[in-house]
Symmetry: C2
Subunit: 345 residues, 2 copies
């Protein structure tokens, strides 16, 4: 029996009973943001993302980081569709006894993330509640053409990333396994500049915020393809992973498989893209690295580890996000799936 991805099934069931706006351009799950057409060929890009579980798990114990990530997670979705951010609205739930200094740090994280993205807080809402949580809703626009989506990947197409992968999971592993000091300045940035350029260059795009493997699996499912990564895919990992992995007993591929991603963009180009075009691209898209190719066969092939079937990938994506103290069980589960991939199917 096919294993469903719980999150996809949940989104589909929530949306099933809701009529869709005739002005909405995208279908369900086909893009990192929602698109609404306005008069004058303006496309509005909208996205909402809550930072709650990462705070509850202790991962974002620093309120500065919680504020930063609440802004960046949303702007990263705008980056993935190639939209210019108009700004963000923030709904903050603050516990009654939240210290004033912590609140100031939270606001500072929000402000610095907006400055880094050359964007603005447009408005918000504040509420009292038992646990700190922040919901951002980012608004972007596209005035000169179509937005980027996750759709239009064919076997043979070329897969790239805007930067090194795995730092999000490395930060989570270090934080939840007790050595956060190795990440004194973790503050990933939304790739807005790259996304804006990719809009006229790339065929499809998606950010890695749910982890690299989950992102590739989602792209694979939506397009009926698989992916095979380059033989030296370990070089795609952020150096932090290569330092942390041996120290914590975490094999390299786990930094791609964990659920705490970063804000790089995966994007694809048609198989027939010329050498000249590729050279042009690598000069235009900062940090861009070749990752692999789309394949006719389903699943994701990591040379040296094995082929993860769609079922393996669904099981990985359905694992509960680990909290402090639960990481070893989570790792154990991942490693078992990796072992199955290794012995091949």
């Amino acid at each position: 029996m096919k294993t469903e991805v719980n999150e996809n099934a949940l989104i589909a069931s929530l949306a099933a009973s809701l009529p869709r706006s005739p002005l909405q351009l995208n279908n369900l799950q086909e893009s990192d943001a929602e698109f609404i057409t306005l008069p004058g060929s303006i496309t509005l890009a909208l996205t909402t993302d809550t930072i709650a579980e990462e705070i509850a798990s202790g991962l974002y114990a620093d309120p500065w980081l919680a504020g930063w990530m609440a802004v960046m997670a949303n702007f990263s979705d705008l980056a993935a569709v190639g939209a210019d951010p108009l700004g963000i609205l923030l709904a903050e739930t603050i516990p009654p006894l939240f210290p004033v200094e912590a609140r100031m740090k939270l606001q500072q994280g929000i402000r610095e993330a907006c400055v880094a993205c050359a964007s603005y807080v447009l408005g918000g809402d504040t509420n009292a509640g038992d646990a700190l949580q922040i919901t951002g809703t980012a608004v972007g626009c596209i005035t000169d053409g179509r937005p980027l989506t996750r759709i239009s990947i064919h076997p043979g197409d070329l897969l790239f990333t805007t930067g090194r992968l795995g730092i999000g999971n490395a930060f989570a592993a270090a934080g939840l396994m007790g050595d956060r000091s190795s990440f004194p300045d973790y503050h990933p940035c939304a790739r807005l500049r790259q996304g804006r350029r990719l809009r006229s260059l790339a065929a499809a795009c998606m950010d890695t915020s749910d982890g690299a493997l989950a992102t590739l699996d989602q792209l694979a499912r939506l397009n009926g393809v698989g992916f095979t990564l380059v033989p030296d895919w370990e070089n795609l990992l952020d150096p932090a992973c290569r330092e942390l992995g041996p120290a914590l007993g975490i094999p390299p591929w786990v930094f791609l498989a964990g659920p705490h991603g970063e804000f790089e963009l995966f994007f694809t180009l048609p198989a027939e893209t010329s050498r000249d075009r590729l050279d042009e691209l690598s000069s235009q898209i900062e940090g861009c690295v070749f990752v692999g190719r789309a394949t006719e066969g389903a699943g994701i092939h990591l040379p040296g580890v094995g082929r993860f079937s769609p079922d393996d990938l669904a099981i990985i994506r359905n694992l509960d996000t680990p909290r402090r103290g639960e990481v070893s069980r989570y790792l154990q589960n991942l490693l078992e799936i990796g072992h199955r991939a290794e012995i091949g199917h």
Copy 2:
């Protein structure tokens, strides 16, 4: 010493450190939604509102109502600025053991509120958390002119409402004091149709979602005026208040003073508006009733009760929103302030 309204002070302090977008039309607190100018003389209206405290207090024990209110509270802000809703994004935090039937009721409330407003859910995010809460972010647009704001009220101006007031507080009183059965079908509607028409007719507008008195106080502060209500202001109350008040020992004015409002719109017209224009208005704006006049002197005068000074009103607005079991203390506080107003100042 002047008493500040805590919420206004909080918003001002949060915004103080944040640079403002050059595309944002409105100043802080001057409108129920945020305005962004787009090319082609389109104005985007944006607003975000979280339903959390009303769920935690037990007031929205019915998940259908929580869903309905999460949508309506946001669309009501669009109504108050005269925008056409393009849709809403919803971020839902759901406890792990939330029953499936409750979840379905929540979705049904969301769906029915969207249908009632002829609008749509555009997208969303779901998270796990200890307490149910829902953040909505509504997006509207105005393609033919300026949005309505809370600004431009002068002494002598005429004050109206789009409907009877106090039902929100009556529902809260009944629910928290134990007799919710008298409200089997509480589901207030955003006044989108009225707001759209008022955009070309009214000088200023604000919804009553924080309670009628708080709304008038906010309009008064922003415009440097006061208000005096019509002598028979009790007739402005929803019949439910007049039934419930004597049964629960709640004087009529308390239904205006409590913090749980409804989605009516207060709006003003210039003092010199002609009789003909007023007749035209009352035929165009469904349910519209004359409430009183703006005054040069600050505060709000309720004939038969007294004059509430800005300090009284700040103290009322700063009272903690009552939870079940705390209502009598809240009422006691309100009644003391009312007594002060009665003996005059």
